[in-house]
């Protein structure tokens, strides 16, 4: 039995060419926030998965199921 359960982290769907995505990850990295990044520009499968949650990256799916789209002062990218 696993005595050290993995702590749930937010899933973040990103595009590395998207300024808003880069800003969010930079902020989280600076704050030490753990996350599961899924780069949608690399895979149709991941892009389709992201579209189930929204249309504007970054899309964050928090462990409690809450979804947030976009980040910061720039609009983000429609996928």
């Amino acid at each position: 039995m696993n005595q050290n359960p993995v702590k749930a982290v937010p899933i973040v769907y990103t595009i590395r060419g998207c300024d808003a995505c880069v800003k969010l990850l930079r902020k989280w990295d600076a704050e030490g926030v753990a996350y599961d990044e899924r780069r949608v520009e690399l895979s149709q499968l991941l892009l389709d998965e992201a579209r189930k949650y929204g249309s504007l990256v970054p899309i964050v799916v928090w462990p409690d199921g809450t979804v947030q789209q976009g980040f910061g002062d720039s609009l983000g990218c429609f996928i």
Binding site: I15, R16, G17, D19, V40, E41, L42, S43, Q44, L47, G54, S55, L56, Q68, Q69, G70, D73, S74, L75, C77, F78, I79
Partner: protein, 211 residues
């Protein structure tokens, strides 16, 4: 932009991807590019206009597109320009934005802060710059600004709130409302983009658009 300073020399232009090669390399959205190619939003009048422009002595013979396959604005607009190039015989070359930052730097928007795509640059046969289109029409940008003002009012935010100044606490709801408001407008924005390219070309070439 001064022609003398552009990094897009005739030789560089020729290094751009043919649309077929861009599509072949696309990791995502091939279905979207195909869908919008098959529904290009161009009317017969639009095609006639672009052919008329292409026939002018200084008319467009070459089109540069800055694009990425993951971008919604790109898969909606690039197929339209592909159709224009096919109808007019113009040579279209596609440059991936993130692999060509020096070209992108010549077409920054939002006071030099945004690397918005698609960008379409029209050139004469002898590679003289004519005009360019970035991302979406001025009308679409105006609608976006209007939508932001409407949503701000609905959420009780101060007048003059911009996307950049939405308080963090209100941002999730704000973004949700904004997406719901502008997504249905994308089809109309495609037509407005065509009209804006018509206006840009007719103005640059001093050839009135009688549509």
């Amino acid at each position: 932009m001064l022609e003398a300073t552009t990094v897009v020399t005739p030789a560089r232009f020729e290094q751009g991807l043919l649309y077929a090669d861009f599509l072949a390399q696309a990791k995502v959205n091939s279905d979207k590019f195909e869908k919008f190619y098959n529904d290009p939003a161009l009317t017969d009048d639009d095609i006639a206009f672009f052919k008329k422009m292409a026939a002018l002595p200084r008319g467009p013979s070459k089109i540069l597109a800055l694009a990425e396959d993951w971008c919604g604005d790109v898969y909606r607009e690039l197929p339209t320009v592909v159709r224009i190039a096919e109808a007019t015989g113009a040579e279209l070359r596609v440059f991936r934005r993130d692999e060509n930052p020096d070209i992108m730097d010549e077409y920054l928007s939002n006071n030099g802060k945004s690397r918005a795509i698609p960008v379409f640059v029209f050139y004469t046969k002898d590679h003289r710059y004519i005009t360019h289109f970035v991302e979406r029409s001025a009308g679409a940008h105006k609608e976006l600004t209007g939508a932001i003002a409407e949503i701000s009012a609905k959420l009780g935010l101060p007048p003059g709130t911009t996307y950049a100044t939405v308080p963090d606490a209100s941002r999730p709801m704000f973004v949700q409302e904004l997406i719901a408001k502008i997504t249905p407008r994308f089809a109309a924005w495609r037509k407005e983009a065509i009209q804006e390219m018509r206006t840009l070309l007719s103005t640059a070439l001093h050839s009135p658009d009688h549509s």
